[in-house]
Assembly symmetry: C2
Homo-oligomer: 140 residues x 2
């Protein structure tokens, strides 16, 4: 837990139990959860937690580069505490979001056509390996 305290302090963010819990959740659940998923799971052990706090905290963490906000689904934001540059795959069957570790010459770009680049997102959409296998079994 001390780890998360240091992360907050290093970023001049006030240390609160809520923020520590959210940081820990993101660090230990690399499933790209939604704000609501984080809220629901933490609510059990933190009954007073407010959903607004989850949204506010995620926004702060994003602004300080501590999490990465994914807009791959179009209907809801997904949050990633793996801030190493990497791409993502969204399965249109099971909705899982999977890390794609693929060679990409553009992931570290800081400028293109005179535009200053702050973030790079590589999104792939389709059917994941697991769901492909499922649908093949069904055709036996």
């Amino acid at each position: 837990m001390e780890k998360y305290v240091q992360i907050l302090k290093k970023n001049c963010l006030k240390v609160t139990p809520q923020r520590l819990e959210i940081l820990k959740y993101l660090d230990t659940h690399r499933t790209h959860p939604t704000a609501d998923t984080i809220y629901s799971n933490l609510k059990n052990n933190n009954p007073s937690l407010s959903k607004t706090t989850v949204y506010n905290t995620l926004q702060h963490l994003d602004e300080h580069g501590l999490v990465y906000t994914l807009t791959i689904s179009g209907s809801e934001s997904r949050f990633d505490s793996n801030i190493n540059p990497h791409h993502h795959f969204l399965c249109k069957i099971c909705s899982n979001i999977i890390d794609i570790d693929i060679e990409c010459p553009n992931v570290k770009k800081v400028e293109v056509g005179g535009h200053r680049i702050d973030e790079v997102h590589g999104y792939f959409k389709g059917v994941c390996a697991s769901c492909l296998k499922e649908s093949n079994n069904g055709e036996d």
Copy 2:
């Protein structure tokens, strides 16, 4: 206009005045408009047009691969009738979405890690050249 009639027929989509107008709008406005922008602009000359029709039509066009739905902004879908594979840049100042014609070895991928890829989206976010110039002028 015959051009759009043919596109619809070729895709087994019933030809309606609303669909023709929406197709034409997308073809002549390569600004990645939102559904609401399309609706507001067409409403002037088509007073009976319903926003639901715009959403329905865009969904049909997307399903038939006639438009590309961008989720770069996170808060609203943007639509692109340029279905040539290309990447996009979102300016966090002016909110414009700009085509990025950049060499990318992953844009034509159909499989990765056993996952079947149907769509590839390359999203860059930052400050566009025009807004960068603006902010430099302000600092004179």
